[in-house]
Symmetry: C2
Subunit: 339 residues, 2 copies
């Protein structure tokens, strides 16, 4: 078991303010800093500490080493038919993705369905944020992106693919279903925690440098690789995200010669009302949500959850103030002082 870590409860406004302050100190215009801060705090609030304010340490380093340019605006590089291509110009990924959402909202009015790519962004944050926002506006969306290679092909040894998240949003009134998962068997961050705590990891997660499955997290850091989730099927998802995220966006797959870094992103948005009456769609989803959550659980007292339920529970817990590990919050306060 992991050791218990002291938790601080920080008010939303305080967390937002400090986060924005740090982003401004490294050269981000105030409006953009507030927007990126909002994304990080939303992730923290939803219980995804790995995508929360801890990222400020990495993000400020990105600016220092020139891999993020904090004061550029994303550029719409092509807009034809029901397609849009955006160049993030190595600014903040969240700003480029929110720009993509703005473009989607405008163009979908007449088109009902739109495909958008984003390239040249270092880290777009938590994909669930974007598909959830669209779902609350009654749009269905799919989203994915590639990233630096750490995952082996099914039956292979080398690190070929990123952890490559896949996300989808399904409108359902105020509580849309929000799917957002890495196509790797585990996030790399979880291996790091297991290594620090000298814990074993689950089977099917990692292979060592000889391609042999290992329960030792060190196997990954000593020349091994993560495995895709779900065997050859998860491999197909991982490959699809790497190749299509990279090649359609123009950011290139990690498996190609021109790949540098970053999240090559694809976003597909659909308005269900273009296909079926709005109330028919809403009825189908609401009834399905009720049916799924009332299914007999395999294990007593462990009801079946919908995608997004875990995050909603965390948000409810964080309503009076957002929980964060004290050492992490202290390090963010220190970071702000050093800048």
């Amino acid at each position: 078991m992991s050791q218990s870590v002291a938790e601080a409860i920080i008010s939303r406004s305080e967390m937002l303010q400090l986060t924005s302050q740090i982003l401004q100190k490294v050269g981000t215009p105030k409006a953009d800093a507030d927007s990126v801060a909002d994304s990080l705090v939303l992730a923290q609030e939803a219980g995804h500490a790995s995508h929360g304010v801890i990222r400020l340490i990495e993000y400020t380093n990105f600016v220092k080493n020139g891999t993020v340019i904090p004061n550029v605006k994303p550029e719409l590089i092509s807009e034809r038919g029901a397609t849009v291509a955006i160049d993030g110009r190595w600014g903040w990924g969240q700003i480029a993705c929110k720009f993509a959402l703005e473009v989607a909202r405008k163009k979908i009015k007449d088109l009902g369905s739109i495909s958008i790519t984003v390239k040249n962004v270092n880290h777009i944050g938590r994909l669930g944020e974007y598909v959830e926002a669209l779902a609350k506006e009654n749009y269905v969306s799919l989203m994915w992106c590639n990233s630096d290679p750490s995952v082996a092909a099914f039956g292979g040894r080398d690190r070929l693919f990123g952890t490559n998240p896949f996300a989808a949003g399904i409108p359902n009134g105020e509580t849309p279903m929000v799917i957002d998962f890495a196509t790797a068997a585990s996030a790399e961050g979880k291996l790091r925690v297991a290594r620090a705590n000298k814990q074993a990891i689950g089977p099917g997660t990692v292979i060592d440098k000889n391609g042999v499955e290992s329960l030792d997290p060190n196997a990954f850091y000593e020349g091994g690789a993560l495995l895709p989730f779900g065997g050859h099927k998860g491999y197909c998802m991982s490959l699809m995200i790497e190749l299509l995220g990279g090649a359609i966006s123009g950011g290139h797959p990690a498996t190609s010669s021109r790949y540098e870094r970053g999240n090559g992103t694809v976003l597909i948005v659909m308005n269900p009302e273009f296909f079926v009456p709005a109330d028919s769609f809403a009825q189908d989803i609401a009834e399905s949500a009720a049916r799924i959550t009332s299914t007999t659980p395999a294990h007593e007292n462990k009801p079946v959850l919908l995608p997004g339920d875990v995050e909603n529970l965390q948000r409810a817990k964080n309503r009076g103030g957002i929980s964060i590990s004290s050492p992490i919050w202290e390090s963010i306060i220190e970071l702000e002082k050093r800048l």
Copy 2:
């Protein structure tokens, strides 16, 4: 191990002719019968016997019991912006899907991206066929459909979702990558074979009526359920396909009150040339294919495969005549005589 079954080698033209003949005998117009026959023979040739000519037994029963109407044409019920909704009118699913492809080809010329739904079709066959055809024309596509419930939610007991296939086609010259997998841990047909042969099935495939994992295929038939592949992530895919396949198409999810039967289908087609230069996309994919297949295998002499490789190997084997189990081929000959 399964017992060896005698194999017959049947010429492509003979298999096509008999298949079309059977479909015509139950009232299918010749052109449509030839087209559905082509789909079944393509699946047989690619090594997917479960989606091959054995389906004729089921298909002719569908016509007898009125769940398929063999002589109707699919109808375009709405066409707005970059969206199209098609009603298969309970005719052959393959005819409705090929109509969807025709519509996609026309509309994508100006739009570059299009989303199409198909409802009221009993069985659309192998999704890989459609995404492969589009990939050979240099279109990227995603496709999925829901179906009769046999799969439990992650952590649940009841059969809620279909085996719900997900497919994607990635253009790569004459050998596109073709992804096509069930989001259930196994096809139901494989359980049937294991039961007949009194074999155990793999872990993570089936739960019994008490929600307990079982290696006995009978557990499924005695009130159990299939599991989704890949734990909670596969569950998310299965749920997404059920809800979006059903609700956007208007065929309804199996988890809703209005579901009757059939494959509620979503097809998304993109032309990469609308986003990036054609040669950039082609280079990224070709380089990635080479990189992935040249990765060091985890197990010596077991090179890593690309999605679609297994089918291409089967096609090569079947070039001089298509292999089929003799008892199945005999039963198809008998079927034709009885009609």
